[in-house]
Amino acid sequence: MGKSDFEESLEQRIRDYTWAAAFFKEMVDELGKEKAKEITFKALSKLRKEEGHCLAQELGGSFEAFRQSRHETAKKLNTVDIVEESEDAIVVKIKRCTAWEAANHLGVPDMCRMFCETDAVFAEAYNPKMKHEAKSRCSAGDDVCINVWRWEDY
């Protein structure tokens, strides 16, 4: 039987994280957990900022386009659901998170926790009007990730 989209996506994540996980573990051994987490958070913040800017360029930076992209992800992966939606908010539930499962598989759950902490940076970089709030996180021991993306008009 062929692999599911989720399985393929998880395998890709594991490949994407393998070197980073090895660096993270070595930093923990050499510098201690706190310093390793600090360096990782800074590095991931820069990456996610860039990712937010790139996505804004690609989609035009509107909330509507962002919402649409979440719908497309939910359509593609049966592990992602849109659970609530309005003109200025979208709530996305991730029933199985590839980032969390890949990081766990590689023995670096803390690396994923740092990644989750950068969601707000990503939102801000996409558009300063966009805010992110995590209602629940697999990396915090919850069964699912629930992300709220909100558009704030001033």
Binding site: R15, D16, A20, A22, F23, K25, E26, M27, L31, A43
Partner: protein, 153 residues
């Protein structure tokens, strides 16, 4: 099935190095180049020793089995040349290195140097009889990578 182009290979490696390169650059800023290279080298040694053990299990750990994929790569790609070969040594020249290209594009050439430095450990982990010596390395500024694997009876 057609072989992936060099550019496709580089894109794949870039994807797999992106987070690591970001961590590496942050370590350089926070800890200095030497410490960052030290940490990257130790981490990569562990990964490559594990990869070599897996390869040895898959191929049986002989020198002949190790050399065969290199010959096949040379047949398929103009960028790979078998410079010299005998029963107990093989010298390979590589004109295009996806690892070097990817690390460079990600702004972390020193990360690639740390990887190249783990080649002798990889060889010994494949089989303690196998040794590796690099003659030329793109990561050292050479035009090509060239190195010899030797089997010591």
């Amino acid at each position: 099935m057609s072989q992936p182009s060099f550019e496709e290979g580089v894109k794949k490696v870039i994807r797999e190095y992106t987070w690591a390169a970001a961590f590496f650059k942050e370590m350089v800023q926070e800890l200095g180049k030497e410490k960052a290279r030290d940490i990257a080298f130790t981490a990569l040694c562990k990964l490559r020793v594990e990869a070599a053990h897996d390869l040895a299990k898959r191929l049986g750990g002989t020198f002949e089995a190790f050399c065969q994929p290199k010959r096949e790569a040379a047949e398929k790609s103009e960028a790979v040349t078998i410079v010299e070969e005998s029963k107990n040594h093989i010298t390979v020249r590589v004109g295009e290195c996806a690892a070097w290209e990817a690390a460079n594009r990600l702004g972390a050439p020193d990360m690639c140097r740390a990887l190249c430095d783990t080649d002798p450990m990889f060889s010994q982990a494949y089989n303690p009889r196998m040794r590796y010596e690099a003659k030329l390395r793109k990561s050292d500024g050479d035009d090509v990578c060239e190195g010899t694997w030797r089997w010591e009876e």
